[in-house]
Structure formats: C-alpha cells, structure tokens
C-alpha cells in the first residue's frame, strides 16, 4: 500500500483516531503524572474516550434519532438506515454511571490518602511510607 491509500483511511475513520488519541492522552496522564488527582483526571479521559467510541459507532450519515413519528400500528414501515442505532448509546448510559462511580471511589480514596499523608503527590507519599 502506498501513502495515497492511507489518506482515506485517516479521513473517513477519523472518529476512531480521535478516540485512540484521547485514550492515549488519558493513559499517559495515568502513568506519567505524579499528582494523584491528575492521574484520576487521566483515568476519566481514558474512560470517556471509550464512551465516545461507542457513541460514534452507533452514528450514521443522514440518520435521525430513533423515535418513530406517528409510528403506532403496523403500517409505519421502519427503515433501519434512517435511524441512529440506539443500543450503543443506551449501553453507554450504564458505562457513564460506572465511570462516575469509579471517579467517586477514586476521589474518596484520595481524600483518605490526603488525610493520612497531607499530600497528594505520589513521590511525597512514597517517601513518607519509606521513612519509618
């Protein structure tokens, strides 16, 4: 494959590149940052990237929200192509709840850590743990 073939891949599938980039930013923050709250922010970005991935895979060009107007009864023919796939979006409602809960637990733990060590910098905490 020469370069010209990659360009459409980059342009038409840009939603996937966006989610991968966001995910990597989150992962980098979780690994490289020293401050625990910054790590938690990284974790949130990481999870949100996956939510964006799911939401983008349900989307279609020229489609509308999956509610049938005046659609009661059998005569309303439904063209699946006209509607966005609602299932990934619904799944993400649950995933958002999960990520909010994770964020809550993480923040609660960091409060406990701060009470005990008076700092949220990881190297400072590790120094304190090494001393006694």
């Amino acid at each position: 494959m020469d370069m010209a073939q990659y360009i459409p891949l980059l342009l038409t599938k840009y939603n996937y590149w966006v989610y991968i980039t966001l995910m990597m930013i989150g992962l980098w923050a979780m690994i490289a940052k020293n401050n625990l709250v910054k790590k938690i922010i990284g974790m949130s970005i990481f999870q949100t990237a996956i939510i964006l991935f799911y939401v983008s895979m349900g989307a279609k060009y020229g489609a509308t929200i999956p509610i049938i107007e005046h659609g009661h009864g059998a005569e309303a023919a439904v063209q699946a192509a006209d509607y966005i796939n609602p299932l990934p979006h619904v799944l993400m409602l649950t995933a958002i709840v999960v990520s909010v809960a994770t964020l809550g637990v993480a923040l609660a733990l960091s409060i406990r850590i701060h009470r005990r060590h008076r700092t949220l910098e990881e190297d400072g905490i590790l120094d304190q743990l090494r001393e006694p």
């Binding site: 992962l27 790590k39 990481f46 999870q47 996956i50 991935f53 990934p88 999960v98 733990l109 850590i113």
Partner: protein, 501 residues
C-alpha cells in the same frame, strides 16, 4: 421456585445489600443476619443450580421474559454452575468466619462493610451466571468497585494500594469494554451464544482478532497475570483480613473463569487454536509468571505478602493450562481454578485468624505459633500442602493434569516451571513452619496484649466461629482432592469442546 434460581443467584444478594445499608442506619444489629440471609439464599440457589445442571444439562434463563438476542440471558452449564457454587459457598463461609474480625476492627463501619461485601459477591456471581458480554462488564465493575472500597478500608498504606488497584483495574475493564465494542461492530450482538455462531464466518477478520486481544489483555490485567500483576500484592496484603479472604480466592479466579468462557464459548477453540497462533507465546508468558511469582514470594518477610505472590504464580498455572491447546491442559486449568478457590481461601483465612489474634503477619510475629494456635497452623499447613501439591490434597491432582497436558503439548518449559514453583513452595512453607514450630515465642514484640506470655505458652486460639470454617476449608481440600475423578467426569468433561482438541 427452582426455575428462578439463576435470577435469585444475583437478585438475592443485591436486594440484601440494599436492606443491609438501610439496616445500618436503623438497626445496626440486623446487618449481619441480613447479609447472611442474602448470601444464604444465593448459596442455596447456586447449589440447587449445580444439582439441576448436573441432572438436566445446561439451563438458560431469560430475564424479564425477553428472548435471547434482545433481552439479557443467563446461561448456566456445569462450568459456571460449579464456579458459582464455589463463589457462593466461599463468600458465605467467609462471612460467617469473619464477622468477629469485622466487629473487632471495624466496629463503627460494620454496616458499610457488610453492604460492600454482599455487593462484591453479587458482582462475582453475576459475572459467572450471565450470558451477555456487556452485562458481564457491568457486573465486573460492581465487584471491582466494591473490592476497591473494601481494600481501601485497610490500615496503613491500604488506600494508596487500593487507588493503584483502581487505576489498573479501570484500564483492564476498559480494555474489555473496548473489545466488546469491536465485537458489537462486526456482529451486532452482545449475547455470548449468539456471538459464537455469528463470529464463525468472521474468524479471518482483523477486527475479531483485535477484539479478542483487547478482551484477553483486559482480563489479564484484572487477574494479575505476570507483567501486569503489580497491583495485586500490595492490595491483597494490606486489605482487611475478611476482605482479603473474600477477594483473593474469588476475584482472580472469576477473571480466569471469564477468560476460559471467552476462549471456549464465545471465540471457540477453532479461533484461538488456528487463527491466533499466539498459544505458544502465551504459555511462555505463563511460565515467566509462575517462576517470577515464586521468586518474588521467596523474597517476602510477611505471610500475607508471600501468599499474595503465590496467587500471582497460581494465575500463571491456570492461564498456561488454558492456553496449552489440548483437552488435558484445559481440564487441568479448570480443575485448578476450582481447587485454587479453596486453597487460597484456606490460607488467607488462616492468615486472617493469625492477624486477629497476633495483630501482625510478619514472619517475626509467627514465632512459636504452633504452640499457641495449633489448629489454625494445622489448617495453614493443609493449605500449604495443597499449594505444594502433596496427595491426597486437591493441589496434587490439578498439577498432575497440568503437567500431563504440558507433556502432551510438548511444552517442557511449562513442566519445568510447575516443578520449580512446587519446589519453591516447599522452601517457602517449610521456612515458615520452621519459624512457627521451633523458634520460641517472641516476647514483648509490641503487637498487642498477647506479646508478654510466659514461655510455657497457653493455647490462645482464634474464636470458634473462625476456627470451624477454617477447619471446613482445610477438610474441603482433601475432600476435593478425593473427588477429582467425579469432578472431571461430570463437571469438566461436558464443557470441553469437541473437535480440534
């Protein structure tokens, strides 16, 4: 009633978690009975299901009456029925054993502790029973989140360890979710049984390979497979005793179960065996995991940390066995999964009993302990023999299957790793027992009221409510070992795939 067991398995503990948290405001005394009730119903359902599955074959259950591809479907064959029964029994027995320790150490947080405990079990049972890939993710996060909170309740640096576990656990679960997303893109379904036949024509697709890799890597992080094991030793050794003896036997094992389920009934062995061509590499990775876990365990000077590294090593056993690529290896992996639940439970419960009495589990605290806590140490010894693999304890039989599987696959590295880690386990436990048998009881070691006993040591055992479950677990090791034949024949053989292997 019995046709609704699959639903009761999850809803009974879920509802009791709500009731326990309400009771913790109104009538704190009711917390423990309510939690025991919820887990008791779940245990009854799990045991009943196991009996039914053995008699009638696999059971499907449509939640809310919706048909499989649209609604959530619970599916139980002998494999998940036996894992569910093991999870439920261990959780119930552990709660019965641990309530004294919880009352002693977390008197003001009893209600929340029981709530989290029951919710964690809900997640584990749900993960085992569900036949829906996304449902599994949600239940995985329920048990993980409660697990983080339970570990975070521990003393000292436990909150930091728990936060690190949370970061890695979230990465693992997110990878799993991402993999499920790719599966949904290519098939449009989330039901495991549906996925299995929708995926069959797509095995060559790169998206399916990506999905499988993401799911498996995510699960590896969650089960602490060697290169991504770093969260486990700190988290499990600093967790409160009752939480450690719940999470250490169950969490990693349920993750191994999910991996085996994915390999056997979603992607099927055709895909794993012929498309992926990674089997050999993964078994070598398992070899490294086993050896590294054993060596790290050798370096520890604390009972709980040592046991935590042994768990890392045991995960290597199961992953390696599952990826060996033959029927005997997979049988060994499943057998070891069941046995390891009981083994790990026994040794972590013994460590919990020791901590309850001595207030420490460092090796110096264990001096002369055989005289002081003979029954606890006897149970620990039984667990140790099972981990080493001495017949007739169950550890011997699963290692026997794993070694036979490795020989059949011609994987000498795995055989060597198994034998090496067994030898290291001998060294580990005999060093421990030397300290506990022959060294005099440490005097005034500053770990609470029991430090100043006279050399003529009085027996000061853990309370009977902890000792009886511990004895049950120790006897269970032998009973499971002697029952290996029927277990393999009636429980494991029916779920082994025909065909390639």
């Amino acid at each position: 009633m019995s046709e609704h067991f699959p639903a009761l398995l999850v809803t009974a503990p879920l509802l009791s978690a709500l009731l326990v948290s309400i009771a913790s405001w109104l009538r704190p005394k009711l917390c423990l009975p309510l939690a025991l009730l919820g887990l008791g119903v779940a245990t009854l359902a799990a045991t009943g299901l196991l009996a039914r599955v053995l008699l009638e074959g696999p059971i499907g259950y449509r939640l809310g009456g919706w048909d499989p591809p649209w609604g959530i479907y619970y599916y139980l064959d002998t494999l998940n029925a036996v894992v569910a029964a093991a999870v439920a029994w261990v959780a119930l027995v552990n709660l019965a054993a641990a309530h004294r320790a919880i009352q002693a150490d977390y008197a003001d947080k009893q209600g929340p502790f029981y709530t989290l405990y029951v919710l964690a079990v809900t997640g584990l049972l749900g993960m085992v029973a569900t036949g829906d890939a996304f449902n599994l993710y949600v239940l995985l996060e329920i048990s993980s989140l409660t697990g983080y909170a339970l570990i975070g309740l521990g003393p000292g640096r436990a909150p930091l360890s728990s936060l690190n576990y949370l970061f890695l656990g979230t990465i693992g679960a997110s990878f799993y979710l991402l993999g499920v997303g790719y599966l949904y893109i290519v098939t449009g379904s989330l039901n495991m049984g549906d996925l299995a036949h929708l995926l069959k024509p797509l095995y060559g697709s790169l998206a399916v390979t990506t999905a499988f890799s993401l799911i498996v890597v995510g699960l590896w992080v969650k089960m602490a497979f060697f290169p991504v094991h770093a969260w486990l030793p700190n988290a499990y050794s600093q967790a409160p005793g009752p939480a450690a003896s719940l999470l250490a036997p169950l969490m990693t094992k349920v993750m191994v179960y999910v991996m085996i389920r994915m390999m056997l009934s979603v992607f099927t062995v055709d895909f794993v065996g012929t498309q992926l061509l990674l089997q050999h590499a993964v078994v070598w990775l398992a070899v490294i995991a086993i050896v590294a876990g054993a060596l790290f365990a050798l370096a520890q000077r604390d009972l709980k940390r040592m046991l935590a590294y042994i768990v890392v090593s045991e995960v290597g056993y199961m992953v390696g066995g599952a990826w060996l690529g033959n029927r005997i290896g997979m049988t060994g992996a499943v057998l070891h999964l069941i046995n390891d639940v009981v083994m790990t439970f026994c040794v972590f419960l013994a460590a919990g009993c020791i901590f309850h009495k001595i207030r420490g589990t460092a090796f110096e605290d264990l001096q002369g302990l055989f005289k002081k806590m003979p029954w606890t140490m006897a149970a620990l010894a039984a667990g140790a023999l099972a981990i080493i693999g001495v017949p007739p304890t169950c550890g011997f039989f699963s290692k026997w299957y794993l070694i036979r599987g490795a020989l059949e696959a011609g994987h000498w590295g795995f055989v060597c790793a198994l034998l090496f880690s067994s030898l290291v386990a001998v060294v580990l436990f005999f060093r421990l027992f030397e300290i506990a048998l022959f060294e005099p009881l440490a005097e005034g070691h500053g770990h609470g009221e029991h430090g100043s006993h006279a050399p003529a040591v009085a027996v000061a055992e853990a309370p009977l409510s902890m000792l009886l479950p511990l004895m049950a677990a120790a006897l269970g090791l032998v009973a499971l070992g002697l029952a290996t034949g029927p277990v393999v024949k009636y429980i494991i053989a029916p779920v082994m795939p025909t065909g390639l292997w």
